[in-house]
């Protein structure tokens, strides 16, 4: 079994797909981080021109805000839940001021989080498709399936080794994504910012954003949370890609089908608020990172656990179908 997995991994690496993925990642990360820095500089310039000041002082704004928050805290009118959120904000601001950190300047940690958020619904699935779409269909189109199946190994073992290899490579891709976006963005962005505090843990209660459970964590941990969710999405995408690759004989149509479902799924989200069924489609649930930021959601009942379960169901069913079909399939080459 382990020999089979090893062979599959060599096949994937030798097909130079990994190099394509690395090039794509470097290209995109380079462009995005350069763009972010560029826009930031432009904004500062615009601000300086408008306000006729010689330098941009964020400390004054932060200090002013801090004092207002402290006044608020002393007021007797604040309920318990408000106090917690204010305390976190004060802590965060004090940290920024004490450590001379400008909360507006871009940092590598913040770039990483932003990059994951932007890529989780499309770019990351695309990378998985690149590596996974020809996994089985490629064997058909290159007619190597004959050689593979004439070995004295049961079919399910062959398929299983391919699946394990794909999951391993998927994990590596997410790791690569983290490494590349950290190192490349460091070229354009001067601050690492891994130990800066971030607030998370927002929750939707009765259709309202609740700040009662908000907690403060470091940027590094927040980054890890985002990458972990991206990894989960990548695993689910690889399971779905795997199934399509088993069902379809040519690699082109495998890529076509998955891309179409991704793009079509984005369109379907327009109906999300009116058509309840849409929330059980996998594309609707891909954007797991939005649950960490608490950005405003329209649909009641959709939370992280819900989306994770829906995605898991899709992944498990995909793998089941793959094995059922592959072990019964007539191979005519």
């Amino acid at each position: 079994m382990i020999t089979l997995v090893r062979n599959e991994i060599y096949k994937m690496i030798l097909r130079k797909k990994v190099i394509l993925i690395i090039i794509l990642l470097i290209l995109f990360v380079g462009l995005f981080s350069y763009g972010e820095n560029y826009i930031y500089n432009q904004r500062i310039n615009a601000f300086l021109q408008e306000s006729n000041q010689s330098n941009y002082s964020w400390e004054n704004i932060a200090n002013q805000r801090l004092e207002r928050l402290k006044e608020n805290l002393e007021s007797a009118y604040i309920p318990e839940r408000g106090i917690k959120s204010i305390e976190i904000q004060i802590e965060q601001l004090e940290y920024f001021i004490d450590n001379n950190i400008n909360p507006i300047t871009p940092s590598v940690a913040r770039f990483n989080v932003e990059f994951v958020k932007q890529s989780i619904t499309f770019f990351l699935p695309l990378l998985i498709i690149i590596i996974g779409a020809d996994l089985i269909s490629g064997e058909f189109s290159e007619k190597t399936i004959k050689i593979l199946l004439t070995r004295a190994v049961p079919r399910w073992k062959i398929l299983m080794s391919k699946l394990i290899a794909l999951l391993i490579m998927t994990t590596l891709i997410v790791l690569l994504m983290a490494i590349i976006s950290t190192s490349i963005s460091r070229v354009f962005i001067n601050r690492l910012g891994f130990d800066e505090p971030v607030i998370t843990g927002f929750k939707l209660v009765n259709g309202e954003l609740s700040t009662a459970t908000v907690i403060q964590i470091t940027s590094l941990r927040y980054m890890l949370l985002n990458y972990s969710l991206a990894w989960y999405v990548a695993l689910v995408m690889s399971a779905i890609t795997f199934m399509i690759s088993v069902l379809v004989k040519s690699m082109g149509s495998a890529i076509g089908i998955i891309m179409a479902s991704l793009i079509g799924g984005q369109f379907l989200q327009f109906f999300l608020s009116d058509w309840g069924l849409v929330k059980y489609f996998y594309v609707t649930n891909l954007d797991l990172t939005k649950y960490l930021t608490g950005s405003y959601q329209q649909v009641e009942g959709m939370n992280l656990v819900f989306s994770v379960l829906v995605l898991m169901t899709w992944a498990i069913i995909s793998i089941l179908i793959s094995f059922l079909v592959f072990s019964k399939k007539d191979v005519l080459v």
Partner: protein, 263 residues
């Protein structure tokens, strides 16, 4: 040689990352599912202030807030609502006693049902100032929807809303003819993301509401659209929909100035 090294490295790297990612994954689930304890804030407020509210002391201004999430103070980082902020503006002269009956997500129909409930009769009878924030959720349904018959839907919902509003004010007046009623108008939380077509609907909605509000005695419409227009960044809370502490502050100050004059 090359082949021998690659596989163990790939395997070890992926196993390590799998462990790390799994822990991060579990971490993020536990963070987003931790328990809250702030259900039904509005109810606590009723119990806390009701006795003093009903005692109807002449030196105390009894302030009643009715409506939706904006009435309840959603998004306010300081955890105050309009009532508490209003109280801070006037409390040098006399005391303000607030009851907040707002429930997040309310539409005009639900507010009408609430106003007609017998349990609230006494509160309404004893209130001196009533602040109403309603309609946002009625209109939001249209602004968020992608139906083709935008205008047909809009006309229907506006008509229903105006009818409900009339019944709400009617019910309030039936129980209390002297209180000052203030209606808080709608702002545009979407900024330039809102299409011109929908912005027109919002303006029309506010206009029709104001027309109706101004036809009652001792009732005033407070616009908020202009307040938010150039200050979205500062006045919207992190959810990009509800007002922030600064936003509530701005609304309350305008409200205060309208009722008490500019000092």
């Amino acid at each position: 040689m090359y082949r021998k090294i690659v596989f163990p490295i790939v395997l070890i790297l992926s196993i390590i990352s799998m462990v790390v990612f799994t822990s991060g994954f579990i971490d993020s689930i536990s963070i987003t599912t931790s328990n809250t304890n702030n259900d039904l804030i509005a109810k606590e407020d009723v119990n806390g202030n009701k006795e003093t509210f009903l005692s109807n002391d002449e030196n105390v201004l009894n302030l009643l807030i009715l409506g939706d999430s904006i009435g309840s103070g959603a998004g306010d980082e300081a955890g105050k609502d309009i009532g508490r902020r209003y109280g801070e503006l006037v409390d040098e002269k006399n005391e303000v006693n607030t009851i907040n009956l707002s429930i997040s997500g309310s539409k005009s129909k639900e507010l009408l049902e609430r106003v007609n409930e017998e349990g609230y009769d006494e509160i309404i009878e004893n209130s001196d100032l009533v602040i109403i924030s309603i309609g946002g959720n009625d209109l939001k349904e249209i602004l968020d929807s992608r139906t083709l018959d935008l205008f047909v839907d809009y006309d229907n919902i506006l008509l229903k809303f105006l009818n409900n509003l009339e019944s709400i004010i009617g019910a309030l007046r039936e129980k209390n003819n002297d209180s000052q009623i203030v209606y808080v108008g709608l702002y545009n939380p979407y900024g330039e993301k809102l299409s011109q077509e929908k912005l027109d609907l919002l303006m029309d909605w506010n206009y029709e509401t104001q027309r109706q509000i101004e036809s009652y005695n001792e009732t005033v419409y407070i616009p908020t659209y202009d307040l938010f227009k150039y200050n979205l960044q500062a006045y919207l809370s992190i959810d990009e929909f509800h007002p922030s502490a600064m936003g509530y502050d701005a609304i309350t100050k305008r409200l205060y100035n309208v009722i008490n004059g500019v000092e």
